[in-house]
Subunit: 340 residues, 2 copies
């Protein structure tokens, strides 16, 4: 079967890979309908994360169950399913508390490499959520978004305690930040401030529910948020970038006692203890437990109440994966969907 392999920074190839098989009785094999490229796939592409050798890529996926192991009960061959970027049993104490991304038996789907025709999904019963039926083609991008960026943005908005009466600021206008805007709006936030300086992303932010736009960054961005919030800072701030500057911008934009949901993978970030102490904020984040939210998100998509698939601004066939990586690296695309 065909699948994406990264050989070195900037060197992405689509080639014949071995067809996956059931290894554990709790595995399922799914035939991908669509997969995509994640912002985090750009870390090795840019040489910031090291590759041990040629590496199958990808961790987002939707598709149809092709084969199940002997112990699989919750999904059947032929089901259309959505999974998250972490396989989880959904039964351990950590999963039951809503942190499936840290399941005691978790398997990172990035280690499987989902940018391929066929995907082995471990812990299928805990990981995969079937849709109510076979989706119309136009729903597939949104269901795929639920697999990672929407689920991650949603978690960030929940971690930031977005809700009625709240002013929510979102740092980062990538697919996750935009999804967090959609989530904040759905969660009932009174005001959603998008921090963005790209016209196309600003337009989607507005469409997803942003009530205000702030183009400034750093201290100027913080000053602007304070100006918009009676000098106090936002109640809730989503951080969806993961740099030193963006984390400091998020902390500085939050009022004392406010909440930050951070989901940008924090590379080379050091938080100053005293600054954090005196900020008085709540800080929560990490790899999003997307599985917690999947049933709710799938239903919202199924009922056409949200259309998170709009974050995909380029669609290419799997064979053109190299072009997809290049487009995201060069920022000519926010998020690329690969049809399989």
């Amino acid at each position: 079967m065909r699948g994406v392999v990264m050989y070195a920074p900037g060197d992405v190839r689509v080639e014949d890979r071995e067809k996956p098989t059931i290894l554990e009785p709790t595995d399922a094999i799914i035939r991908a309908a669509a997969v995509c490229v994640c912002g985090s796939d750009l870390w090795p592409y840019r040489g910031i994360e090291k590759l041990a050798g040629p590496t199958p890529m990808g961790h987002e996926y939707v598709g149809v169950v092709d084969e199940v192991g002997a112990d699989v009960r919750n999904v059947e061959v032929g089901d259309f399913v959505v999974g998250s970027f972490v396989a989880s049993d959904n039964t351990c104490e950590i999963c039951q508390a809503g942190y499936q991304s840290r399941c005691v038996h978790n398997v990172m789907m990035g280690s499987v490499g989902t940018q391929a025709e066929l995907i082995r999904v471990p812990l299928a019963d805990g990981t995969l959520v079937p849709t109510p039926g076979m989706p119309d083609a136009d729903l597939i991008p949104s269901l795929l978004a639920a697999s990672d960026v929407l689920g991650t943005g949603w978690f960030a908005a929940v971690a930031a305690e977005a809700g009625p009466g709240k002013t929510v600021a979102v740092v980062g206008d990538g697919a996750v930040g935009l999804s967090a805007i959609l989530a904040a709006k759905q969660l009932g936030a009174e005001r959603v401030i998008a921090m963005s300086r790209h016209a196309d992303r600003q337009a989607l932010a507005r469409e997803f529910g942003a009530t205000d736009l702030v183009e400034e960054r750093g201290d100027a961005g913080i000053a602007k948020i304070k100006e918009l919030t009676n000098g106090l800072g936002a109640h809730s701030v989503v951080e969806a970038v993961g740099t030193q500057e963006s984390m400091e911008q998020a902390i500085g934009s939050t009022r004392p006692g406010g909440h930050i949901g951070y989901v940008g993978v924090t590379h080379d970030v050091k938080l100053d203890g005293l600054d954090l102490f005196f900020s008085g904020v709540h800080l929560h984040g990490g790899p999003a437990p997307v599985r917690r939210f999947l049933p709710e998100l799938i239903q919202l998509i199924w009922d056409r109440k949200i259309e998170p698939g709009k974050v995909f601004d380029l669609t290419l066939p799997l064979e053109d994966a190299a072009k997809a990586y290049r487009a995201m690296d060069e920022r000519s695309a926010t998020k690329v969907l690969l049809t399989v």
Copy 2:
């Protein structure tokens, strides 16, 4: 009037200071019944925080209202009152959200210097909470503890979401850590693990409600907490020290999705972004909004349901303040009460 002044690291004197007067119509003057020395007073005493010059010291106090400004409505001359280490109006949006230590009009009582016979308290209506009557002498240490260490430990336990069914670990066995143990117990925690290696503090920890003791620190301490929690880590961790090691110990001891309440002032601490990200914990802390909890704490003390005053293991007259600082610096005392 007599009051404590620090001239230089290690140089604490009791001398005649100018009698405070009402400066604003919202001020009150109180005649101190008891004051005390805080762990944070040791930072300048040890030369870690710089002094600009001779500095009146102290920020904890209980006493009797001696005089009130023209606009004061909630307390009267003759009331016995407890205040926190931050004066707050208790009416602004931040106060109303429960973060009185970050009131938009806050005044740090350390800038007043409460280790004295008479104390000017700004924003008296918002800051001071009267007791139900004149307290018996044996209640005074506990009421004084409410002014800072109990209120801070209580906030930390609340921030760590200590409660029924929870396993709570407490890093730090000073007066605040011990108070957090008392708080966790009162809040209904199922299990309270004190991380302490001092026999006398272990004994008080047990008396306050600790169910387990861990003497190990750092990675060994983390391993022990995991051993006691089915490999997962505690649900709730209180950090009451403020060093790099103690923060890392707290983060490492918390399960994914768990909560850390940190109240040790984090000097020279840098939190690694990736470690924090992958820990998946909730982090909340800062200067405790003690005022939020004062009515409840005063009632618990008044009804003799808790006796937080046991954290004072040395009582001296105000005139012996230098001896009090020395005892805490040398760790021959955990917390010293100064009678006035």
